[in-house]
């Protein structure tokens, strides 16, 4: 791979006794958009501020085309800084200047352009970002979303070669968010600037990024292309890309995929030594994707929620249940044979059947047949994890179903 444009080498930074970065390493390549994701307060903005010199590292170096920032001459530093734009998290618009003056400021102060030329350029951006009717207003008189767009316009008006975006889409409605990301991607293709973007909008931000870096625990936990990210089996990475599922699982009280895999491995390990038997149940909801698409997202989520909640109630703290695939829930029940597992399943089904989601009347607009299946494996001897799961998949039987042909044809 070619030489990185900007490289962080073992950069550490503390604020008082609070350590924010601990030997962080990151590479940013020319002409690419690098997304930096991480939890709030993980040090994403701190990372950005180091590039533009608002913060200096306590130790470690930041290299620009192989040369440490600390060794830049004044002229080099000035040249580098002029090729950058920074979009602040809270926009940092000048509240005593109008929108027009805000966008024009870098041009007025830094260049020798004529007033007419400046006006032309600023008006072009104002039109591009649909700010025409607020040109003469002050930042406090316009909405948060508009302020974001003004900040973006101010960042691109100097036509920089590199733009640092600190959460450009936070606080925007979904339509505007997409518009901003689209604008960034479009402008990037057009001008070819290097972009560094701190964002929470997973997965949207992956679509426009060439590289992704995850900051976790004061370090860069992962960096690579979005494809590599998706293929990664690191737990931290998984939690970030499946953020939405993680939230749903927390709502349904399910464990994480990693926890249940760990539990299953542990149980397999104990078999023959400390226990004779345990059961694995694999639930799956047929055509869940179709339900999501045609009936609705909430309906699909409710089915999972019902399964998850009742499972948790019946298993207590002994068992583990987690979303295993998009349509599957894997359950590990220690010290239970197939009969007991079967009992538990029956109880769950009775419980779920009582709820509205198994009643065709709940789906007045669109109704879709669906079935809940379960496969039980009674483990009595040492097996491999994959074997257990494929066995469970094979032995799946329908345990409950909803048919909605009462007067309405299937969709």
């Amino acid at each position: 791979m070619n030489e990185p444009f900007i490289e962080f080498k073992d950069v550490s930074k503390s604020f008082g006794s609070l350590k924010v970065l601990d030997k962080a390493n990151l590479a940013i390549y020319q002409g690419e958009i690098t997304a930096i994701i991480g939890k709030s307060g993980a040090g994403k903005s701190v990372l950005l501020k180091h590039i533009i010199g608002l913060l200096k590292p306590d130790s470690g170096q930041i290299l620009v085309r192989g040369k440490p920032l600390s060794q830049f001459t004044k002229a080099e530093w000035r040249h580098f800084k002029r090729s950058l734009s920074y979009m602040f998290q809270n926009n940092a618009l000048f509240d005593s200047l109008t929108i027009f003056e805000n966008i024009a400021l870098p041009l007025v102060e830094r260049t020798k352009m004529s007033a007419a030329e400046i006006r032309k350029r600023v008006m072009f951006r104002i039109e591009q970002f649909e700010l025409g009717d607020v040109e003469g207003k002050y930042p406090s008189q316009i909405s948060g979303g508009m302020q974001k767009r003004v900040a973006l316009a101010r960042a691109v008006v100097t036509e920089p070669t590199m733009i640092l975006f600190d959460e450009p889409t936070t606080g925007l409605d979904p339509l505007r968010k997409n518009a901003v990301l689209n604008m960034v991607a479009h402008y990037q293709r057009e001008i070819g600037f290097t972009g560094v973007m701190v964002s929470h909008d997973i997965p949207d931000v992956f679509f426009i990024s060439n590289r992704v870096a995850i900051i976790e625990n004061k370090k860069i936990a992962f960096q690579g292309t979005p494809l590599e990210l998706e293929q990664s089996d690191d737990e931290v990475v998984w939690q970030f890309i499946h953020g939405q599922e993680v939230l749903q699982d927390q709502l349904t009280g399910l464990h994480s995929k990693f926890e249940v895999e760990r539990a299953l491995k542990q149980e397999l390990d104990r078999i023959g030594r400390f226990q004779d038997v345990f059961s694995v149940v694999l639930f799956s909801v047929d055509s869940l994707e179709q339900i999501r698409e045609k009936v609705g997202y909430i309906a699909a989520q409710r089915i999972f929620q019902c399964l998850g909640m009742t499972l948790r109630e019946n298993l207590g703290t002994a068992g583990y249940a987690a979303r295993f695939g998009p349509e599957e829930i894997l359950t590990v029940i220690p010290q239970a044979d197939a009969t007991r597992a079967d009992l538990i399943i029956k109880e769950i089904i009775t419980e779920c059947s009582r709820q509205e989601l198994m009643n065709p009347e709940s789906y007045r607009k669109v109704c879709l047949d669906f079935a809940i299946k379960a496969g039980i494996v009674e483990v009595r001897k040492k097996m491999r994890l994959e074997e257990v799961i494929s066995l469970a998949r094979k032995s799946q039987k329908v345990i409950a179903k909803l048919e909605c042909d009462k007067g309405r044809g299937p969709v």
Partner: protein, 273 residues
């Protein structure tokens, strides 16, 4: 037992010295920072391209907008000086000297000092608050990232404008004050107007005027530096952040400027006399 007490006392003293040393270092550090801030601000006034427009805007804000309040204060100061002066002088049968008394006290002392105090209250506080808010809302950082020197953009024009405006406001204050003295002394209390103005003409020499002028220049520099400095470093305050930090910065700007104006006035007077 006795040893222990001594030990304890010794430690207490060391702690006390420690505290004193730290405080002294803090103060010296702060003074150093202030001196650098001042020099940097002054040098940047002359950096090219000259910020003519911005200086004029500040002249308007600090000067023109203070016009009314300075006139009002000047008028009443002159009037009260006329009243008080008359009743003191009349005891010695020297009421004819009223013009000289009013004019000299205004030109040498009250003009520069009261003008400075009024401008601190009106413009100094708002300078500190404005720059302070720009600091906490990251607007100063934003200037920095755009490679616009925030010192040059925010501080220098205000310093330059203060240097231009303070002597002018002081002159205005003096003239209106003398007119105020005329109102009470001549129109109210019946001193001959010819005598009033003739005494002023006789007693005021150029040295008095240049002295007052020098004072107002010194006050301009000190007030603008302190107010800008307090706002600019709002975020470094340990006692309060955010809005609280700005309010503390504004308060300190006003208090420190006022105290320094009065102290400097004494020092300058003792040199000028």
């Amino acid at each position: 037992m006795a040893e222990k007490t001594v030990d304890h006392e010794g430690q207490g003293m060391i702690r006390g010295l420690n505290w004193l040393g730290r405080k002294t270092l803090d103060i010296i550090g702060e003074l150093g920072a202030l001196a650098i801030f001042f020099c940097y601000g002054i040098i940047l006034i002359f950096s090219l391209p000259f910020q003519f427009r911005k200086i004029i805007q500040q002249v308007y804000f600090i000067g023109v907008k203070s016009f009314l309040i300075i006139s009002l204060i000047g008028l009443f100061t002159g009037m009260v000086l006329g009243l008080q002066g008359y009743y003191t002088l009349v005891k010695f049968g020297a009421e004819g000297m009223l013009g000289a008394a009013v004019a000299l006290s205004l030109i040498r002392e009250l003009g520069p000092v009261l003008t400075a105090l009024m401008v601190i209250g009106r413009a100094g506080s708002s300078i500190a608050a404005e720059i302070g808010i720009m600091r906490i809302s990251e607007q100063i950082d934003a200037l920095d990232t755009m490679d616009i020197n925030p010192m040059r953009y925010l501080v220098s024009p205000r310093m330059a404008a203060s240097v231009i405006v303070f002597p002018m406001l002081t002159a205005l204050f003096d003239v209106i004050g003398i007119f105020g003295g005329f109102l009470t002394g001549v129109l109210l209390l019946g001193i001959n107007s010819g005598i009033y103005f003739n005494r002023i003409y006789d007693s005021v020499v150029l040295k008095d005027v240049t002295g007052g002028f020098l004072k107002s220049l010194a006050f301009a520099l000190i007030v603008s530096t302190i107010c800008c400095y307090q706002g600019y470093f709002t975020h470094m305050r340990s006692e309060g952040f955010g809005a609280r930090g700005v309010s503390l910065a504004t308060t300190s700007a006003v208090v420190i400027s006022c105290v320094l104006v009065l102290v400097l006035d004494y020092v300058l007077t003792s040199f000028l006399l």
